[in-house]
Symmetry: C2
């Protein structure tokens, strides 16, 4: 190859890591081709197909044939539908104009981080956390302040931790509730304190709520419920049709942004992706209808059953999970009973037992060698098989 | 508003301009609501619906219900289909592994510019040109070298112009062929010289071929046909299903990248958008079938008829179009006979005649006040009405 890649690539590429689970996935695929039966507990995607009402609406939209660009910020009818959902479900008065439709939550993060962060700005977030969040910041040459969190704060940032770690450069604090990989939630009281703190600092709080709705022991909530008056000008909500609504492949999400950021979002959307997929937007119009929600709530119960099976089983095997996850579909397990090298363990589990999990390294630098993530995105019968295989391997 | 936007937004937002045509569009919409009949010749989107075979394939894909994430670089079957298309249509041997599926050509530009450009790097491109191209560079804090081009080079960069304007920081040269807004093409001989030059400089050439297929007086072509051997390592092709294939709202494009950039593209795609819309990818599988191409070629003839009508008519009205556009669906017209302020003219045309066009300012800084762009993306009967109205207004 005549081109030296180190010299060729932009500097940011040195810091943007691939998902390490991809190498495991490659190995899993190779094993499957050899006839091995692999149980995929590494996948951060619901196993359910998109609910039928949404598919039907998509089919109708396609058949109408008019699949042209929508406005950059999305179909006003969908923005209004989402605003109505916040009113009905969370008793929140969100004007449709502040709802921005994006190609997945990824598109929302690209807009927000792109509009706010440049060289010299930093974003504070919890470690462990979803790896892409850090990489959006790196993409626009911002800095990361990864704050190590543990079970003492349910693996979440707190107002106290944020205050302790605040720097001159801190412009955004980012939370996820429920969080990936730990499934924990920021309590409303704490959220209030955090919002007040961020407002006092004249900074922004991004709350990733893409697992909103996927909670098992409480009512689902929205961080905006914890903000009052002018404080809402400092809060940005990220959401998605991928997880609770099981529309991953449609690539559709949204964010709720303060009024004063709308113009910047519009300018960036026009340039960076023009608009979100049209048919997905039309199909998503029925995502909040009672017949769809009924399907989704039934599936939420199934996720709950899986969690309630897998959590004690993995604990019994010797994985430590100090905080029972309240949401999402992950168990972030301390595997230090077995190893000081979770990456090697993940490879061994795959090779020996055919169970695929995600190594901690994909979620940050906070002792990742002691953690693996199980996603309960497979039917309970596969979870049972996986537990059986793990038992044989670990005993 | 408690937040000062200038201080709040990232510095790049000062340089990322909205499309000025948006304010015209807003006015057009308001006029339509008052009952005015507006002829939209400002829209860079085919008026045709997506061809029926593609819609049918989309419906079938939706009905199968399995709308999960695809691999980040796209469905291998679609990548192979596109590779086969290059083989069949252009006699080019492009391995499927080098075809990267993206959410629109926008997604492709985000990957390529993101992988290659950082602070201190610059991208050379022609002015006038498509405005987003510059804004992708600004988004990642790179520099623009906009080279003013005129009719003497068919509004395209040449090897000579590139050599004259080369700087230490130049890392990418970007062409569009056919180009927006001028509809001109880079001749194969010139393309060869440019590729050789860029190779000698150890830089990259991006060729935007999103209007490939929409040419009217010649065979469509691909810049890779003009590159040989190692030179291909320096050439990146951007393409899209939006224009020729009339799939704008599906948000699907592709790029062909050198082998050594694939890993960077994969890492960025995983992080920035995860994957392209699944149903669009499945539907696009039939975009190259003979029954689809037959529809598209028929529509190409209709675009040609529109151009062949509008080009002499606008010339007769006093608009100067020194180079007859060979492709795309735009006429970039010198309106200096009428005005030194094309923005005001565009507003007057809209208000007085109801004809909406795009002011030159949306395409760069090269005497934009002397230009407006007409898009022949409306049926010829509307073009005739528009000409009649313009005649009344201008005479």
């Amino acid at each position: 190859m005549p081109i030296n890649n180190k010299r060729t690539l932009a500097k940011r590429m040195e810091t943007i890591q691939p998902f390490h689970v991809m190498s495991l996935l490659g190995k899993a695929k190779a094993l499957e081709q050899q006839g091995r039966d692999i149980i995929h507990l590494e996948v951060g995607e619901p196993d359910f197909n998109t609910p039928q009402p949404i598919i039907d609406a998509g089919v109708e939209a396609l058949k109408r044939g008019n699949i042209h660009y929508t406005p950059s910020l999305g179909l006003m009818s969908l923005r209004q539908t989402i605003a109505d959902f916040y009113q009905t479900r969370y008793d929140l008065d969100v004007p449709a104009s502040r709802v921005v439709i994006t190609p997945g939550a990824s598109g929302a993060l690209l807009l927000i981080i792109g509009a706010l962060i440049g060289s010299g700005d930093s974003v504070m977030l919890a470690d462990p956390g979803y790896p892409c969040n850090q990489n959006f910041v790196r993409f626009v040459d911002g800095d990361i302040q990864a704050v190590a969190v543990d079970e003492s704060t349910s693996y979440q940032l707190t107002a106290e931790l944020i205050e302790q770690n605040w720097q001159q450069s801190t412009k955004i604090v980012m939370l996820a509730s429920p969080a990936n990989p730990t499934g924990t939630i920021v309590p409303k009281d704490e959220m209030k304190k955090i919002i007040q703190l961020v407002k006092d600092k004249q900074a922004y709080l991004i709350v990733d709520e893409i697992y909103q709705g996927l909670v098992y022991d409480m009512e689902s909530s929205c961080a905006l419920s914890a903000s009052e008056g002018a404080a809402a000008d400092h809060v940005i909500i990220i959401n998605s049709f991928s997880k609770y609504f099981q529309m991953t492949g449609w690539r559709l999400g949204w964010c709720i942004v303060p009024e004063h950021l709308l113009e910047a979002c519009d300018h960036l959307a026009q340039n960076l992706f023009l608009a979100s997929p049209t048919t997905a937007q039309e199909a998503a119009m029925v995502a909040f209808l009672p017949e769809t929600i009924e399907i989704l709530e039934h599936r939420r119960q199934i996720f709950k059953q899986r969690r309630d099976y897998l959590y004690p089983q993995l604990s019994a095997l010797g994985f430590k999970i100090p905080i029972k996850p309240q949401g999402a579909f992950y168990l972030y397990c301390d595997c230090s009973t077995f190893t000081d090298d979770s990456m090697t363990l993940a490879h061994e589990l795959l090779e020996t037992t055919g169970v695929a999990v995600t190594p901690g390294i994909d979620f940050g630098q906070n002792h990742p060698e002691h953690y693996v993530r199980f996603a309960y995105t497979r039917d309970i019968k596969y979870l049972q098989q996986a537990v059986q295989r793990l038992q044989n391997f670990l005993s």
